[in-house]
């Protein structure tokens, strides 16, 4: 489980013994992990295990309160998500980070607007941004009525798709995805998995959180297991099978019993 | 710059516009308004009344009045510079102008026919003298609207003639009960205070209670009258009330301008008409009381 075996180049992102407290609440303690070039790190764990907290540290949304965070081998404390974004880290947050009253296309490009013209006269390339938004969503199997609809009026899954499409479109070095498929239909979820595989193949690092072992196992290279805010270990794919992983995630035998219970009494 | 207009030709449809710097609900200006309106009723002319303490807004109100082309304009000039343009415009449009209350010094210069009333400063000086006569030397002057030019001038006038110290105290006329607290606090904080000068009858009533609660023997005087104030004067709780006779500041100019419109009379001969100050003391409080009750004093 040491990282010595990794190549000489440092991983894109690495955390050592990282932790975070919210007031008196210890949400995360002593977690170490890393994600390198062309690698998919899956973060697994029960509800409330600290996965989103972990991701918020990586993406600069929350500063960590213990341990170290290294980007390209250099220690950093992100003061804001902007700093992480500038390092090429794009994130899909569990709460999606959208502005409900704004049109879909404005949300898509928010913070990375495309402009035309120079200096004080530069103005938004509205047409171009509308078109790209529509196209990128269509690629995910979402056929929007109108990219000018406020994003708050989209369905849960449509909203999630916008957030994912945005991160994938702007992701430069690392893409971090917090339960990206939770509200998605079977088809859309499949597209997201495909995206993850593509990003990996293009040499991006991916951090992927999910509750679905069937989603995690096919694309993951390393598996970080969290429980009650602490790490149960960081496994390579070769070190674990999908069955073991599912057991670790769910507490084993219970699952088997379930199938029987569900049948009509 | 006295011009006789041919407004008389318009017969009985005479309109006279009054634009003051008093805000709605101000006790003093309310009586001015009553006076002007009563004159309108008595003389059968239309009187419109507007007021705003901000010179920009007052100018706008004057402009609006000019746009309705009245037969006469009555303006109070607390901040003469501020309304100069607007008054100039009226004069240029041939509308006869009379200034009231404040702005005596600029009245002629701006082309007004006459000035009626008396500045707040002079009224304040009168109050200061009376207080000095009563042997008072350390007075708090209760300003019930922060930064109000007229109120500041009253206090300045009193300070001018008192010969002792006058300290301004700010209260909020919208919360008379708390004004009472503040006056009481002032009395508690400085036991040497021997005079309280209020500038509003309601505040005067509160002040009389504050004196009682603070067990202070300070002398209380006020500007403007109400029936409660006259009662308190009779009860020896208030020494005197300065009465600038605001009613006549409203009534007289309307009368003058009506005469001018109907008859071409230009009254005043370019000289101001003084409307006060009168003092209401124990001697005459009785007579004043019934007028105060009607809202005409």
């Amino acid at each position: 489980m040491t990282h010595a075996e990794a190549s000489a180049a440092p991983p894109i992102l690495e955390v050592r013994d990282i932790g975070k407290t919210y007031g008196s609440i210890l949400a995360l303690q002593g977690v170490s992990a890393s994600v390198g070039v062309g690698e998919v790190l899956c973060v697994l764990g029960d509800n409330g295990a600290g996965k989103s907290t972990f991701i918020k540290i990586l993406s600069g949304a929350h500063a960590h309160t213990q341990g170290k965070l290294l980007a390209y081998g250099i220690e950093r404390i992100f003061g804001s998500p902007r700093e992480a974004l500038d390092l090429g880290i794009a994130t899909v947050y569990q709460d999606l980070a959208v502005v409900p009253l704004m049109p879909v296309w404005r949300n898509f490009f928010l913070g990375s607007e495309v402009t035309r013209g120079f200096g004080p006269f530069s103005q938004l390339d509205v047409k171009g941004m509308r078109r790209i938004t529509k196209e990128e969503l269509a690629k995910m199997g979402i056929d929007l009525r109108d990219v000018d609809q406020p994003i708050g009026t989209l369905s849960g899954g449509e909203r999630q798709s916008v957030a994912i499409a945005r991160a994938v479109y702007f992701g430069a070095k690392v893409v971090i995805l917090d339960e990206p498929t939770s509200a998605l239909g079977v088809k859309q979820a499949g597209v997201v998995l495909k995206y993850i595989a593509q990003a990996r193949d293009r040499g991006l690092g991916v951090v992927f959180i999910t509750h679905n072992p069937h989603h995690a196992y096919p694309v993951g290279d390393r598996f970080l297991l969290l429980k009650r805010g602490t790490s149960l270990g960081d496994f390579k794919k070769s070190e674990i099978t999908i069955e073991e992983m599912t057991k670790l995630m769910a507490g084993g035998a219970e699952l088997d019993a379930l199938a029987h219970e569900l049948a009509r009494a | 710059a006295t011009t006789t207009t041919d407004a008389a030709a318009s017969g009985d449809k005479i309109t006279i516009a009054v634009v003051t710097h008093g805000s709605p609900g101000d006790t003093f200006w309310d009586v001015v308004k009553s006076g002007a309106e009563q004159a309108g009723t008595d003389l059968g002319v239309t009187v419109t009344y507007q007021g705003d303490g901000d010179p920009v807004k007052q100018s706008q109100l004057i402009d609006a009045a000019i746009a309705t082309n009245p037969d006469g304009l009555i303006v109070s000039m607390a901040n003469p510079d501020g309304v100069q343009n607007a008054v100039d415009k009226a004069v240029a449009a041939g509308i006869p102008v009379i200034t009231i209350n404040s702005g005596l010094d600029q009245s002629r210069e701006f082309g007004a026919q006459t000035h009626i009333g008396q500045s707040e400063f002079i009224a304040g000086q009168g109050a200061g003298e009376q207080l000095a006569n009563a042997g008072v030397s350390n007075v708090i002057c209760v300003i019930h609207e922060a930064g109000n030019t007229g109120l500041e001038e009253r206090c300045d006038g009193a300070a001018d003639t008192l010969g002792g110290t006058v300290t301004n105290v700010q209260v909020d006329v919208a919360n008379v009960a708390d004004a009472q607290n503040t006056i009481k606090s002032s009395l508690l904080a400085d036991a040497s205070i021997d005079g309280v000068l209020t500038l509003n009858p309601g505040i005067a009533v509160a002040a009389s209670q504050a004196l009682e609660e603070a067990a202070s023997t300070a002398v209380l005087a006020t500007f403007d009258v109400s029936s409660d104030v006259t009662q308190l004067i009779l009860d020896d709780k208030i020494l005197f009330a300065v009465d600038q006779q605001p009613y006549s500041q409203g009534y007289l100019p309307v009368t003058f301008l009506t005469l001018q419109a109907r008859n071409g009379d230009v009254v005043g001969g370019g000289l101001p008409v003084y409307s006060g100050p009168g003092f209401v003391t124990k001697d005459n409080a009785d007579q004043v009381a019934k007028f105060a009750k009607n809202g005409t004093r």
Binding site: - | Q170, V176, N181, S185, L188, G202, V205, K293
Partner: protein, 346 residues
């Protein structure tokens, strides 16, 4: 392992002492700020801590406090009432006019004024809920309307802009026992309004924290859609809150009327923001869903102490507002600091 035990021994919580737990209440920051201002003026002025001095600032605080508590409930419920100040004037004027001008029985006059106040409160609630317009703008309109009506109607009926001769009305002294009297305590001349203030704060606190209505108030202010979805009677709650504020306006109107025995047409105008300030200084969120009645009462205490403290300190009066502003900023900063220390991030 019992459930309660598990809550205490959970390894995922840093042990926090009773003090920290206490410090998490929304009103604690305000309490510390109040204490600081109390000490400051006690030390720096002579009269502040004398019985007469204490009675003065307590009285001042009580008049703001009663309204501040009601306004705080309303704000927790997610609404504003900018007509609250003018309502104080309206109720006072109604009682004044119907008794002095029309000779109506004074007790009846009280009831009439209360009924009208409640009706206006209900109208506010009705318009806000039916149109979905922000209460800020609806009650602002009400405020303007009341302000105009107060002035114009008073003028028409009495010929002046204030009520005269109130103390000569039959029954005035009897009513005064409830609204304008005072009693001696520790050498202080305690006004009855202070009792009202304490009682209302206690009642409001109980309602907020221990009754179903209180739960609903927090809920409608925190997330109105969710509240509606789980079946909270949103309309009723808001209606109740607006009527409570209007009722408090009536109470303060009576307390003022029977204290100074006069009321002017401009009474209460501009006071509505002071109530909101007190509530916010006391820890209420402007966005609703969070706050406390005790906090609002403490906010009023801070305001009252500062207002009178500045007078006791005999600072140049022209600076009054500047001092007030500075104190206000200090109070909210102290509040914030205390709450940060307690690990609350609002």
């Amino acid at each position: 392992m019992t459930l309660t035990a598990s809550a205490v021994t959970d390894e995922r919580i840093k042990p926090a002492g009773l003090i920290i737990t206490l410090l998490r209440r929304p009103e604690v920051g305000a309490a510390v700020a109040a204490l600081a201002i109390f000490i400051f003026f006690s030390v720096s002025t002579q009269a502040f801590l004398t019985p007469a001095g204490v009675a003065t600032w307590l009285y001042s605080a009580s008049l703001f406090g009663i309204m501040a508590v009601a306004v705080a409930l309303l704000m927790i419920g997610g609404e504003f009432d900018l007509s609250a100040g003018a309502m104080v004037g309206t109720t006072g004027l109604i009682v004044g006019i119907v008794t002095t001008e029309w000779g109506v029985n004074i007790w009846l006059a009280l009831v009439i004024a209360l009924a009208i106040a409640l009706a206006i409160g209900a109208a506010n609630a009705f318009v806000v809920m039916k149109t979905g317009l922000p209460s800020f703008i609806v009650t602002l309109a009400t405020f303007f309307i009341l302000q105009g009506v107060n002035l114009a109607v008073t003028k028409i009926i009495t010929g002046t802009v204030s009520i005269q001769g109130m103390s000569a009305v039959p029954g005035f002294d009897a009513v005064r026992v409830f609204f304008g009297s005072s009693f001696s305590l520790f050498g202080m001349d305690v006004k009855i309004s202070i009792v009202w203030w304490l009682a209302i704060t206690a009642l409001a606190t109980w309602i907020l924290l221990r009754t179903r209505a209180g739960n609903w108030i927090f809920a409608v202010g925190g997330q109105i859609t969710s509240s509606r979805q789980v079946g909270v009677p949103v309309m009723k709650v808001k209606m109740g809150l607006f009527m409570t504020t209007a009722g408090a306006g009536w109470l303060v109107g009576m307390l003022q009327l029977f204290d100074v025995s006069t009321v002017q047409a401009t009474t209460g105008i501009g006071q509505e923001f002071i109530y909101i300030i007190c509530a916010v200084v006391g820890g209420c969120l402007l966005t609703g869903g969070y706050g406390s009645a005790i906090g609002a009462a403490l906010g009023a205490l801070i305001y009252g102490m500062t207002l009178q403290g500045i007078v006791f300190a005999q600072w140049d009066n022209n600076w009054l507002k500047a001092f007030l502003g500075g104190m206000l900023l200090l109070a909210v900063l102290v509040n914030l600091y205390v709450r940060r220390q307690a690990g609350v991030r609002s």
